[in-house]
């Protein structure tokens, strides 16, 4: 259960030491792991990007090399057809046809057809032998025009559907045409024509398809310098607008690695140049391909971070618990002590906590000792106070009594003097009571009677005294000399100044009610005014000028010091009617043990009663 104090502490922003240690360790752990995770991710990403780029670069380089070799091979075939067949043999000779056919047969895996056209576009020879299409006007076809316009070099066309022959297979062939103007021998007449070698597109398409099929998200395409697409793995989608590829910027780049904007993000392109044609092989690392692999990496790093966090949080908790446990135990024992218990102060844990425990334990022990000392001293002080109060009886009264005896002796009233001396002796015996404070009520009553007998002698029996005491109360404890000062007051303020005819009377009653004893002293004297009555039990400065000098207040204080606050005196008075003082004390049977107990620890008892209140 959360105490009010805990709640208050929480609202004030105070936390337990374990929470603070745990929070600090967790914060440090989280920050460290997140930073490490970010750095790790960043590093991995860079490495993956670099790996992808270097892999693509290597693929582009090797593919360019393969295509270059294929084109070099084709050029060799082309040159062989030109220099070793066309320029070597007469086109009308059988050997020409044989060599032409042989050249095709040897290279038919790469070559779709070889054809030689005359100046007017008329077919001179072709392999494989096939029927020429009626509507195929070669002079208007780009490969022918290019060969005518640049006679020195071999011309490479873009891939296109061959439109020359009909072989009855109802098929079309995609080819790349190599063409060049060539010199021909037709009998003795030298002439010129155009040699056409149509290479199968599959020569380069197979290579490109192979690298595209084996690439992981990266794709490769080929375009010419103007960005016209020669091969693209998604050519059909491109031509239908189902996929977009802007090849123009990449087509203008030299060989190397570039970053290109693509649909709001960037993609990396690797450009390689293909020899003889000026075509570009472009490898593209799309952003979404990078994202997919980065996502994978991100998830793995997230999982690693989370698992690490879980483990470290567990570790942090154990550490914080281990560190805070002795502190908490010490705190708990101190709190229990503060709550009034007397537990042993916790001493354990690290050296510092042990030292702290020892110090607290020692401090509390010292406090205990000091407290006991203070209590002891207080007891002593109370005892001495009581003694002082009791000792206040003697001088005045003794002086007055002795004066009365002197007067009686002088007046030769020896019997009366003897009585006085006898009563005085009894009174002094009870007063002394071997130095005891607690006496039986019977002794106190004896003391009161002696006192009243003395006073009546002094006052020449101008008033009467009557004791109405229940016998059962006589063996109960009472603080000595508590009735006598009240009687003294009753005489001086009540009946002392009354004439004999006024029938002055003091009645002492004693009875037990429940667990308490009530002893009342009632007179029919002049009574007390209201203001005197009010200050009677409170004004300690008001000391009687008469009698023994022991005021009612002294009696009240002594009873309360001995028995507690709920006990003491109560006074009722009516002017010209009389006064009634009631002594209220607990009914404690007078035994040696009880008397000794009361003598020893009156103040402690009093304190306990206060605490109970």
């Amino acid at each position: 259960m959360k105490t009010k104090e805990d709640k208050k502490r929480f609202h004030k922003g105070e936390f337990s030491i374990q929470s603070i240690i745990m929070s600090v360790l967790s914060a440090v752990t989280i920050v460290t792991i997140v930073i490490m995770g970010f750095l790790l991710y960043h590093r991995f990403r860079q490495t993956m990007d670099k790996t992808a780029v270097s892999d693509t670069e290597a693929t582009v380089e090797s593919t360019v090399e393969r295509i270059n070799l294929a084109f070099l091979d084709i050029r060799h075939i082309f040159n062989a057809a030109n220099y070793n067949v066309i320029q070597e043999f007469d086109i009308s000779s059988q050997e020409f046809g044989k060599q032409f056919s042989l050249l095709y047969e040897i290279n038919s895996d790469k070559i779709q057809s070889i054809a030689l056209y005359g100046k007017d576009g008329k077919l001179i020879a072709s392999e494989p032998v096939a029927m020429e299409k009626n509507n195929a006007d070669v002079t208007s076809q780009s490969w022918y025009c290019n060969a005518e316009s640049d006679i020195e070099n071999i011309q490479f066309s873009l891939p296109h559907t061959q439109n020359l022959f009909r072989d009855g297979s109802f098929r079309f062939y995609r080819v790349i045409s190599l063409s060049r103007s060539v010199d021909i021998n037709d009998g003795e007449r030298p002439g010129s024509g155009v040699l056409l070698v149509d290479i199968k597109c599959s020569v380069i398409e197979d290579v490109l398809r192979q690298i595209n099929d084996s690439s992981d998200g990266v794709y490769y395409y080929v375009c010419n310098r103007d960005g016209e697409m020669i091969y693209h793995p998604r050519q059909s989608e491109l031509s239908r607008g189902l996929f977009a590829e802007d090849s123009s910027p990449a087509a203008g780049y030299e060989d190397g690695v570039y970053e290109m904007p693509s649909g709001g993000s960037t993609e990396q392109v690797i450009v390689g140049s293909i020899a003889y044609t000026g075509w570009k092989l472009i490898g593209v690392i799309p952003q979404n391909r990078q994202t997919t692999s980065n996502d994978d990496l991100k998830y793995y790093i997230f999982i690693t971070i989370i698992v690490l966090l879980m483990m470290l949080l567990g570790g942090n908790r154990i550490i914080s618990k281990k560190i805070s446990k002795p502190i908490r135990a010490l705190d708990e024992s101190v709190k229990a002590y503060e709550a009034g218990g007397k537990p042993d102060i916790y001493i354990g844990g690290s050296t510092e906590i042990r030292h702290l425990g020892h110090s607290v334990q020692k401090s509390y022990e010292q406090i205990e000792e000091l407290m006991d000392e203070i209590i002891r001293q207080q007891n002593e002080r109370r005892k001495s106070e009581l003694a002082v109060l009791q000792n206040q009886i003697n001088p005045h009264f003794l002086y007055n009594t002795l004066e009365s005896i002197t007067w009686m002796v002088e007046a030769r009233k020896n019997d009366e003097a003897v009585l006085m001396i006898t009563e005085l002796a009894k009174l002094l015996r009870v007063s002394l009571s071997k130095g005891k404070t607690i006496i039986p009520i019977a002794d106190e009553l004896q003391h009161s009677r002696s006192y009243m007998n003395i006073q009546r002698a002094r006052y020449k029996d101008s008033f009467k005294t009557e004791f109405q005491i229940d016998d059962e109360i006589k063996d109960y404890c009472i603080v000595k000399l508590v009735i006598q000062p009240i009687l003294e007051n009753a005489i001086y303020y009540g009946v002392g100044h009354m004439d004999e005819d006024d029938d002055g009377k003091i009645i002492v009653r004693g009875e037990k009610k429940g667990e308490d004893i009530y002893i009342s002293i009632e007179d029919n004297g002049m009574g007390m005014p209201e203001d005197v009555l009010q200050n009677l039990l409170t004004d300690t400065n008001k000391v009687s000028k008469h009698g023994s000098g022991v005021g009612v207040i002294n009696v009240h204080s002594r009873i309360r010091l001995m028995f507690g606050e709920k006990y003491g005196l109560s006074v009722e008075s009516e002017p010209d009617e009389g006064t009634r003082v009631v002594i209220h004390i607990p009914a404690i049977p007078y035994t040696r043990e009880n008397a000794e107990q009361l003598e020893k620890q009156p103040c402690r008892q009093w304190r306990k009663e206060d605490e109970k209140k």
Binding site: T161, N163, F172, R174, I303, I306, L309, L313, R317
Partner: protein, 318 residues
């Protein structure tokens, strides 16, 4: 202390949930591809080359596993039903179906594919009531428009026209014939006869048996290829042949001069878009598939190598 313990346990639990989420994300990337069966008549026939190429490319883009059913001719809904039932036992997630001719095909598809998505390809299911529309999405060309295109190609001077269409209970055939007839009617052309093919018939014999015509319009790709091969022979020699063709052979015959005009649907686009649409459906359960009318192209022998679009068509067949 209790509060600390609860906070700690809650944090550990949250982290565990988070870790499980990322583990799920990793494994979720490796979910097996959805399996889509393609039901086409004579699936190995070269008229479907472009269509299957388009399907394969789209399947690759959309991570779909295509199963192209090995089929012969699909004469009726029963034959198609058997193939579909066979594939249902093969844990198929969706079907791309060329509907067999006949009015019962729609009902059969509704019954057999009640709990799997189906998209019709190439043509729609046949319905006797022309006004009644199929409940299935269809991705294919507009056969009515193809028929109309052919009619316009024949022009005003066309007279004595014979029509060879596919099966009578086929949406493609009836739409193409209707498109052709409606357009020709506006151009004052005359249809001498219209023949719907039947099971085990010899088309050439059927043509021979009918009145001679100047123009033959063949609205079925397979029949066009067959007639084109015989174009130089006998009674077909002096007839101008026009038609609807899916295959590269049809285009080659146009190039060879065996036929005079050809309307070609873009098979690649049909294949590509059908798989794409199905992929959307499989990714989002509540996605409603849409019908798409794909591109059609009028091809003439004169501009076969001048038109860049034709090059695109030819490339698709490779």
């Amino acid at each position: 202390m209790r509060k600390n313990k609860i906070t700690f346990l809650v944090m550990e639990l949250l982290l565990l949930i988070l870790a499980l989420f990322f583990v799920w994300k990793i494994f979720n990337q490796n979910v097996p591809e959805k399996r889509v069966a393609v039901v086409l008549p004579e699936a190995g026939d070269n008229r479907w080359d472009a269509l299957i190429k388009g399907m394969k490319q789209s399947a690759k883009n959309n991570h779909i596993h295509l199963i192209i059913c090995n089929t012969d001719e699909m004469e009726s809904a029963e034959v198609e039903q058997e193939i579909i039932q066979e594939q249902r036992n093969n844990q198929i997630d969706a079907f791309l179906v060329w509907p067999a001719s006949g009015s019962e095909t729609e009902e059969m598809l509704k019954n057999e594919c009640a709990d799997v998505p189906v998209i019709l390809i190439v043509e729609n299911v046949y319905n006797e009531d022309e006004q009644e529309f199929s409940t299935f999405s269809e991705i294919g060309p507009d056969y009515y428009e193809m028929g109309a295109l052919l009619a316009r190609e024949l022009g005003e001077d066309a007279s004595k026209i014979g029509i060879v269409a596919g099966r009578e209970e086929s949406e493609a055939s009836t739409s193409a014939v209707r498109g052709f007839s409606d357009t020709l009617e506006q151009m004052k052309g005359e249809i001498a006869w219209c023949y719907y093919q039947e099971e085990d018939c010899n088309v050439l014999d059927e043509i021979r048996a009918r009145a001679p015509v100047d123009h033959l319009v063949v609205l079925d790709s397979r029949t066009l290829d067959r007639i084109g091969e015989q174009a130089d022979n006998g009674e077909l020699k002096n007839i101008r042949i026009f038609g609807i063709g899916y295959s590269v052979k049809s285009i080659a015959m146009l190039d060879y001069g065996k036929i005079d005009g050809l309307v070609a649907p873009d098979g690649y686009e049909i294949g590509y878009k059908s798989v794409e649409e199905m992929a959307k459906k499989l990714q989002h359960r509540f996605y409603k598939t849409k019908s798409v009318k794909t591109t059609i192209k009028m091809i003439r022998s004169d501009d076969l190598f001048q038109d860049e679009d034709i090059e695109r068509f030819l490339y698709s067949y490779e």
